[in-house]
């Protein structure tokens, strides 16, 4: 009997319509909604260039933190740089997805070596990596360096180790690699730009 009566009363009350709701103590609707917070509000903005195609769109990197000493900077968002006269803030799907390339699960984090015949990588330190690579280079260079050709012309070349250079690394890296390669006598060198 009680339950039935309660239901009855409730229906009765509610049936009076929405205008009476305030009487039951439900507050008026808020006048302003809450939008999602603007996530860049206190981020640091850094100007950079998209590394993909040769349009070289200007991009703005937004990172957490103010670069203070104790903070590990983390890039959280990338969008186009509206000042760049070519892309004027726009980005293609590759550029718009740059964040996921930077944070890709496939980013390499440590120097590694795969020993001859081994079936997996072994983590090594930078010193070991540099040392071992330098020794490889030296022994191959010393063994195969050609001072003069058959005609007796000084040629000073080393052509048993090849160098391939990126077309997406900076000019500075490309220039330095070229300088080092020629300094070592390398002629077997090429870049991604060929293909």
């Amino acid at each position: 009997m009680n339950v039935t009566r309660r239901q009855f009363l409730q229906i009765t009350a509610a049936g009076l319509g929405s205008s009476s709701l305030a009487l039951l103590g439900f507050s008026p609707q808020p006048a302003l909604a809450e939008i999602r917070n603007f996530k860049l509000a206190r981020t640091t903005e850094t100007r950079n260039t998209c590394p993909y195609c040769s349009v070289s769109c200007g991009v703005l990197l937004y990172s957490l933190g103010d670069k203070s000493k104790n903070v590990k900077t983390e890039i959280i968002h990338i969008e186009g740089d509206p000042d760049n006269p070519v892309n004027r803030g726009t980005l293609c799907p590759k550029g718009a997805g740059l964040l996921d390339m930077i944070h890709s699960a496939d980013r390499l984090k440590y120097p590694e070596v795969r020993e001859p015949g081994a079936s997996d990588w072994k983590r090594i330190g930078w010193d070991e990596a540099f040392e071992r690579i330098a020794k490889h280079l030296k022994s191959d260079r010393d063994a195969n360096f050609i001072k003069t050709n058959d005609a007796g012309v000084t040629v000073n070349r080393w052509n048993t180790t090849g160098f391939l250079a990126s077309s997406a690394a900076s000019n500075e890296a490309g220039y330095l690699l070229h300088k080092v390669a020629r300094g070592l006598g390398v002629v077997a060198l090429d870049t991604q730009a060929r293909v």
């Binding site: 850094t46 260039t49 590394p51 993909y52 195609c53 040769s54 769109c57 200007g58 990197l61 900077t73 890039i75 186009g80 000042d83 006269p85 070519v86 004027r88 726009t90 980005l91 799907p93 590759k94 550029g95 997805g97 699960a105 496939d106 984090k109 440590y110 120097p111 070596v113 020993e115 081994a118 930078w126 540099f130 690579i133 330098a134 490889h136 280079l137 260079r141 195969n144 012309v153 040629v155 080393w158 090849g162 077309s167 997406a168 690394a169 900076s170 000019n171 890296a173 490309g174 070229h178 300088k179 070592l184 390398v186 002629v187 060198l189 090429d190 870049t191 991604q192 730009a193 293909v195």
Partner: protein, 809 residues
């Protein structure tokens, strides 16, 4: 690009052929859309596929892969026979009036001078007729049968619309419609820009594809004009930059040819590369070669480079053979390479004929991969199902994988396709222990140098003597390198005309390549970049986008080589008297005293028009070459040759000459011919390409991009799908003579068959972005299929036209 991205907005007609700007360069393509919106420009797309560029075009014409020269040769014929050329321009600014040797000829698909055994040309007959002073003879009437214009007419007379249609598979009406669009821009105040990319270079006739277009742009008078030019839409962010750094076996920074065995001494080397003018009064700017080269030697070898030792000329290695990437892998495959360093390059995925590449890499003693991401190349020894079938334990290569930081984690410059060098700033540290490329290179080099210093070894002098002025030896600062590339005065540099006037004091950064000297008083790591870091500071970091010219030049944004010039050959935008062909978009003009206007003049500023100094200042003639008297190894005029894997089995232009089926001057390594398929077994033309959603083998590591294009597929037309019982979305196997891939089939109206030489040729489209590492579903490396053969001039592989067969899997 001769022009630049924003300049595309100044065009009246945009031709996209041999490229797919909308997909490969969407943000540059915006300027095509801008031209359409603001200039009422038209967009014409000629492509084997109905691409996303075609989707927004005003006219689309299909073309069989590998038939571009036939198409463009037909355009040349159309322009000449319908008198749709810019007469004043052609006469004044090209070699149309130059007389060619009587001995020159072309018969049965071959130019004179061909040696079938060497597969190369003796170019002696391709030269100008010279007078007693060594100047080329010209015929102002353009009527002499040996003048270039007449030779051009004769050569392309064979390219009738009927023939063009038969070779290209383009319907005749479509071809003629494209001709009409193009011909319309022969008016002095109308310009066409051409946007091409790897769709033209990835052929055994790649260089000639581009030359054909250059000829057309010269006939139309579109070179040097705002909204004109021949515009290579280049690949990577810094592909222009690494090209400028000359990281090719045949080059040094700034496009200086590298020495080979025949350049015995510095004098011989310089003499061979320092051109003499072949017409009077011309700038012949290449005459400054010794200044550029000497400054480079000073940048590389510092105080060790002196006049007495020929500025260390002998410290530079001389090459005796080709070492382009195909040659490198050929050598490697033959067991002649022991070590290999791949910095930001994934050759297992991006070099043709994967099976051969796999075998070659396995013969190395050591491989060093420097990359921000886990590439296929670094794991070439690892078994990945049928995507990479290898016997791991049998591979004895020691592989180092070194983590590099990426663009966001380092300072430095990229040079875009517009030749604009732009500084970028580091936003965060790299992950884990990743180091910048600079630190890795320096880390290896300083160790190596220490070993040589301690133990000695083969020719240690250049290793020990390499100029290394960086404050922290194993961590060179990008700014130090930018300054080194740009160049500085080692002693006071004075004006060549007035030795009392000091242009730059010792130790100062130089303001431009005009200040370089060949006496060792200047150092510049890359002469074309000279001035990018001047006494005024780092000009590549300038960020003023303002554009008072209205042409989109933005001269105060970054620094564009050469000399911050934005439109190359801009002298040609004016008539002989120095008046702009089109005043509404004047680039420069002669103001009565000097050249000036909306760009840095590509001309000696005080060269009066009546002096007759012609606009193409890097050429000995001062004019542009319709007829290529040097540099082209496979002919002075472009001729249609079939791809090395042709569906026709013959060249319809020369059906009776087996030597002229495909490019007769292309290099063929032993065994390559046997690795090529024939149409009876592999009847379908295949072409590889990019999709807009991905960038090479890179974005497959990014989840966002993987979501938008998650799985490997190939595209075929509806007719072929019906014939082979292939269902849309079903799985297919695509095989070439060299390998196979499995993928999903996308059956589409966008791909159609071509009617060629009386038969129907189907096409299989192969996007190439997949591999066995990444966030996408694993896929096969598309280059399992492609042939190991390259362009005759520059050895860029023929990725864009080869033969396959396809069946449901």
């Amino acid at each position: 690009m001769t022009n630049h991205w924003v300049d595309i907005k100044n065009a009246d007609l945009i031709l996209i052929m041999g490229g797919n700007a909308a997909e490969a360069h969407p943000c540059g393509f915006k300027w095509v859309m801008e031209a359409k919106a603001t200039r009422k420009a038209k967009l014409v797309v000629v492509d084997p596929r109905f691409t996303r560029s075609a989707a927004v075009s005003d006219f689309y014409a299909p073309i069989r892969p590998g038939a571009d020269i036939a198409f463009l040769g037909g355009v040349i014929r159309y322009l000449l026979s319908n008198d749709k050329i810019h007469h004043d321009y052609v006469k004044a600014y090209t070699n149309a009036s130059f007389l060619i040797n009587e001995g020159f000829g072309f018969a049965d698909g071959l130019f004179t001078g061909y040696n079938a055994d060497k597969r190369s040309y003796d170019q002696a007959s391709w030269q100008y007729q010279l007078d007693a002073q060594g100047f080329a003879q010209i015929d102002d009437t353009l009527q002499n049968p040996q003048c270039v214009l007449q030779i051009l007419k004769r050569h392309y007379d064979r390219y009738t619309p009927e023939v063009v249609s038969q070779v290209t598979g383009t319907p005749q009406a479509d071809f003629l419609k494209v001709c009409e669009f193009i011909a319309d821009t022969s008016a002095p105040d109308r310009t066409m820009t051409i946007c091409y990319a790897l769709g033209w270079t990835h052929h055994t006739v790649g260089t000639q594809n581009i030359r054909t277009m250059a000829i057309i742009q010269l006939l139309l008078g579109n070179m040097g004009m705002a909204g004109g030019g021949v515009n290579a839409l280049r690949g990577h962010s810094n592909v222009q930059g690494i090209t400028d750094q000359g990281f090719y076996t045949e080059m040094l920074p700034g496009y200086l040819g590298s020495p080979s065995d025949s350049d015995k001494t510095r004098e011989e080397y310089l003499a061979k590369r320092t051109p003499k003018p072949v017409r009077p009064n011309q700038m012949n700017y290449g005459q400054n070669f010794p200044k550029w080269h000497t400054s480079l030697m000073k940048a590389w070898f510092g105080n060790a480079a002196t006049a007495d030792n020929g500025f260390c000329y002998d410290w530079l290695p001389k090459k005796e053979a080709a070492y382009d990437v195909l040659a490198l892998f050929e050598q490697m495959d033959r067991g002649r390479m022991n070590g290999f360093i791949c910095q930001g390059f994934n050759p297992q995925a991006s070099v043709p004929h994967k099976a051969k590449v796999d075998g070659a890499l396995a013969k190395l003693k050591f491989l060093v991969v420097i990359d921000p991401l886990a590439t296929e190349t670094a794991e070439f020894w690892k078994h990945h199902k049928d995507f990479n079938e290898v016997k791991t334990d049998a591979i004895q290569t020691e592989v180092f994988r070194l983590p590099a930081t990426c663009f966001a984690e380092q300072d430095g410059t990229f040079t875009n396709s517009s030749r604009v060098i732009q500084w970028h700033w580091k936003g965060a540290d790299g992950p884990g222990e990743a180091l910048s490329d600079l630190d890795i290179i320096a880390g290896v080099f300083t160790r190596l140098r220490a070993l040589y210093a301690k133990d000695g070894g083969a020719f240690p002098e250049p290793v020990l003597g390499l100029s290394w002025p960086y404050r922290i030896a194993n961590q060179p600062n990008p700014e130090e390198l930018t300054m080194e590339m740009s160049g500085k005065a080692l002693a006071d540099v004075t004006d060549l005309k007035d030795s009392t006037k000091v242009l730059a004091k010792a130790g100062e950064q130089l303001s431009g390549f005009a200040q370089l000297r060949d006496d060792g008083t200047t150092a510049s790591g890359n002469w074309i970049y000279c001035g990018m870091w001047s006494q005024a500071g780092n000009l590549t970091a300038r960020r003023d986008p303002s554009d008072p010219t209205g042409l989109g030049q933005s001269h105060n944004w970054g620094f564009s080589w050469p000399a911050n010039r934005r439109i190359l050959y801009n002298r040609a935008s004016c008539d002989a008297a120095g008046k702009p062909w089109d005043a509404s978009r004047a680039v420069i003009k002669w103001d009565g005293a000097k050249w000036a206007g909306n760009d840095i003049p590509d001309m000696r500023p005080d060269a009066k028009p009546e002096e007759g100094v012609m606009p193409f200042i890097m050429n000995q003639e001062g004019v542009a070459r319709l007829f290529g008297v040097e540099r082209m190894l496979d002919g002075p005029l472009p001729e249609h040759y079939e791809p090395y894997e042709t569906p026709l089995g013959l060249n319809p232009m020369h059906p009776d000459n087996p030597l002229a089926v495909s490019n007769p001057a292309a290099r063929i390594y032993p065994g390559v011919l046997e690795s090529l398929g024939k149409a009876d077994e592999f009847p379908y033309v295949a072409t590889t390409y990019r999709l807009v959603e991905h960038f090479h083998f890179w974005t497959k590591h990014a989840v966002l991009n993987a979501i938008t294009q998650p799985e490997q597929f190939v595209e075929i037309g509806e007719e072929l799908a019906r014939e082979k019982g292939i269902r849309n979305g079903g799985r297919v196997r695509v095989r070439s003579k060299r390998g196979q891939i499995l993928a999903v089939a996308v059956v589409t109206k966008r791909i159609r068959s071509f009617g060629v030489n009386g038969r129907k040729v189907h096409m299989v489209g192969i996007p190439f972005h997949w591999g066995f590492r990444g966030a996408t579903h694993p896929g096969h490396i598309a280059n399992s299929l492609t042939p190991f053969i390259g362009d005759a001039n520059i050895q860029t592989p023929e990725f864009k036209a080869f033969l396959v067969t396809i069946e449901p899997a």
